[in-house]
């Protein structure tokens, strides 16, 4: 168990994930984290979709209302499509962890979400393949134009290779952390569970929460 009951804080831990381009695996990773925290860590997890079209609606089987906010459950995860106000309400909902899945392609508004949502941890996923690199550059340009301070350790890439990481570091002076790919976030293998456990301890430092 990463979370020990004795050290567990009453504060809700907020992790925000956003992607530099479509298809870089944000929803997949966010759901994997939620799935892991629920099944292996027995945490109460709230999953928030912050995008134009709710992607997970098709999977919802049961509707729920928490703190006046309507949502639905997907494989035991409470999913809400929310605004900032809803977020404040949901924080009172006795959730241990709130995971925000933000769609970068929707609106540059997400750029302010770190302040708005007071996320404890932000993860920016990108696809650093040479043919997708233009989108990475566009994203970084937006980030700089809005003067958003993102720490070096916040950039991640699924299966990013050494050359791609070096290229990014040379251009933007930021490190990219490599993440493994997960096939099905709702049915994690033992290996995948280990990876996510490591990710939470090593990168997100959740064990100290």
């Amino acid at each position: 168990m990463i979370f020990g009951r004795k050290v567990r804080s009453k504060k809700t831990y907020v992790i925000m994930l956003c992607g530099m381009s479509a298809g870089c695996g944000v929803t997949n990773l966010a759901l994997s984290l939620a799935s892991y925290l629920i099944s292996c860590e027995k945490r109460r997890v709230c999953f928030m979709e912050y995008r134009e079209h709710a992607a997970l609606v098709s999977l919802g089987k049961e509707g729920i209302v928490k703190c006046g906010v309507p949502g639905f459950t997907v494989h035991g995860i409470d999913v809400f499509q929310v605004s900032y106000q809803d977020m404040e309400d949901l924080k009172k909902g006795k959730y241990d962890v709130i995971i925000i899945d933000a769609d970068s392609t929707w609106d540059p508004f997400w750029l302010h979400t770190q302040t708005l949502f007071q996320a404890d941890q932000i993860m920016i996923l990108g696809e650093y393949r040479p043919w997708k690199y233009r989108e990475v550059q566009t994203f970084m340009k937006q980030l700089m134009n809005h003067d958003i301070a993102i720490e070096s350790g916040d950039f991640y890439g699924i299966n990013v290779n050494h050359a791609e990481r070096q290229h990014f570091r040379a251009e933007f002076h930021r490190n990219v952390k490599k993440l493994p790919a997960i096939v099905d976030p709702f049915h994690l293998t033992k290996q995948e569970q280990k990876w996510i456990g490591d990710l939470l301890i090593k990168y997100l430092k959740i064990s100290s929460v």
Partner: protein
């Protein structure tokens, strides 16, 4: 006069006399290279004599008995027949409807295409005839309850072309789609004559782009970010390792995937607008303003992204389905069976689940981080697709 004429004698007691006379009178005022010329009409007490141009050649129905028609021939026939029908529509105060298009009435004479037998052709006076005229199998379905229109002729023409295309034994999704659109039951859903003609002309323009290319394999995705580019590159590299001259091609100038590759990974080299690295060869799209060299012959793996329309022009489609359960995982109904469905990425369970949900066979693409490298797992899947394409 140094050319042959024929003289048709129609007995005045014959049942079909009225049709023969009407045809001759109509043809007398029509002047078009696709319509036989009638020079003169004479009659006596017993017969009507029609002096007409002698037409050599054979009908399309006869031609198809011992020949297979090519794509280019079919296009040429379609355009010329459309031209004749357009002339008939525009030549008089009221549009003339041909109403009896079928392979037996299309005469091929070298490069020329002639339309014969105008027996039941008539001006569109807005009235419905009491007797239904036409040939079963080629006649538009609305004629059973409504009057003939320009779109009835489009239907019959499309049926004639369909017959010829089926006899050729070849496949083209674009041609199939054109025919499919023009043979819809509801006339309002069919294109008009001008649009139908224009579609056939555009078909030729699109083919010029691929001049000399032996095969085009389109990779198209069900949603954004399902990995079309990744799979297209993997397939192009794999086919090269198998000894097939293959080029990756992204037809969208604005995306310029290959330019990005070259700029951001310094292992790529460029020569004659072909970007290459080891077994990967990609042909760049430079746009209309740049005069490009003749594209090299070989197999083209075309990265179509979400452009299903363009993918339908290809000889083979690889449809990429995302394995995320929250994405659209339905396989669309394609007009042809020249499609391989690929789930990216797929574990055994995901692949089977999707195949069962869609009721079709699909391949599971393994988790892969380098499209330029042919791994054993990838090879196994791509080899099966290759066999399907070249079977």
């Amino acid at each position: 006069m140094n050319c042959l004429r024929i003289i048709k004698c129609i007995p005045k007691e014959a049942v079909f006399y009225e049709y023969g006379e009407a045809e001759a009178k109509l043809l007398l005022r029509l002047k078009h290279p696709g319509i036989p010329t009638v020079y003169d009409l004479k009659e006596d007490q017993e017969y009507l004599y029609i002096v007409e141009e002698y037409i050599r050649g054979q009908s399309l129905a006869e031609y198809l008995l011992d020949h297979k028609i090519s794509k280019e021939q079919l296009r040429m026939i379609a355009i010329k027949l459309c031209d004749v029908l357009c002339y008939l529509r525009d030549c008089g105060p009221v549009p003339i409807l041909y109403r009896d298009m079928k392979p037996e009435h299309v005469i091929l004479e070298g490069d020329e295409v002639r339309l014969i037998d105008f027996g039941i052709a008539k001006g569109d006076d807005g009235q419905r005839e009491e007797m239904i005229c036409g040939t079963q199998g080629y006649m538009a379905p609305e004629l059973a309850y409504s009057k003939a229109t320009e779109k009835s002729d489009v239907y019959s023409l499309a049926k004639t072309l369909e017959y010829a295309w089926e006899k050729s034994g070849m496949n083209s999704r674009r041609i199939t789609r054109l025919i499919h659109q023009a043979t819809r039951e509801c006339p309002d859903e069919r294109p008009n004559l001008d649009a139908f003609c224009e579609s056939w002309k555009q078909l030729s323009e699109k083919q010029k782009v691929y001049g000399g290319i032996s095969k085009v394999i389109a990779v198209v995705g069900s949603d954004r970010g399902v990995g079309c580019t990744h799979i297209a590159i993997s397939l192009a590299v794999f086919l090269r390792t198998e000894g097939i001259e293959t080029y990756y091609h992204n037809p969208y100038e604005e995306e310029d995937v290959l330019e990005n590759m070259k700029r951001n990974a310094h292992v790529f080299r460029e020569k004659d607008s072909i970007i290459y690295h080891n077994k990967f060869y990609g042909l760049r799209t430079l746009g209309e303003t740049v005069e490009q060299r003749k594209p090299p012959e070989g197999v083209y793996v075309q990265d179509c992204g979400l452009d299903w329309e363009r993918a339908e022009d290809a000889d083979w489609i690889v449809f990429v389905l995302g394995s995320s359960p929250w994405k659209d995982q339905r396989v669309p109904e394609w007009n042809s069976n020249h499609v391989s469905i690929l789930c990216n990425p797929a574990s055994r369970g995901t692949g089977l689940k999707l195949a069962r949900a869609n009721g079709c066979r699909l391949y599971g693409f393994p988790l892969d981080d380098d499209p330029f490298l042919v791994t054993t797992a990838k090879k196994k899947v791509l080899e099966r697709i290759r066999k399907e394409v070249w079977k």
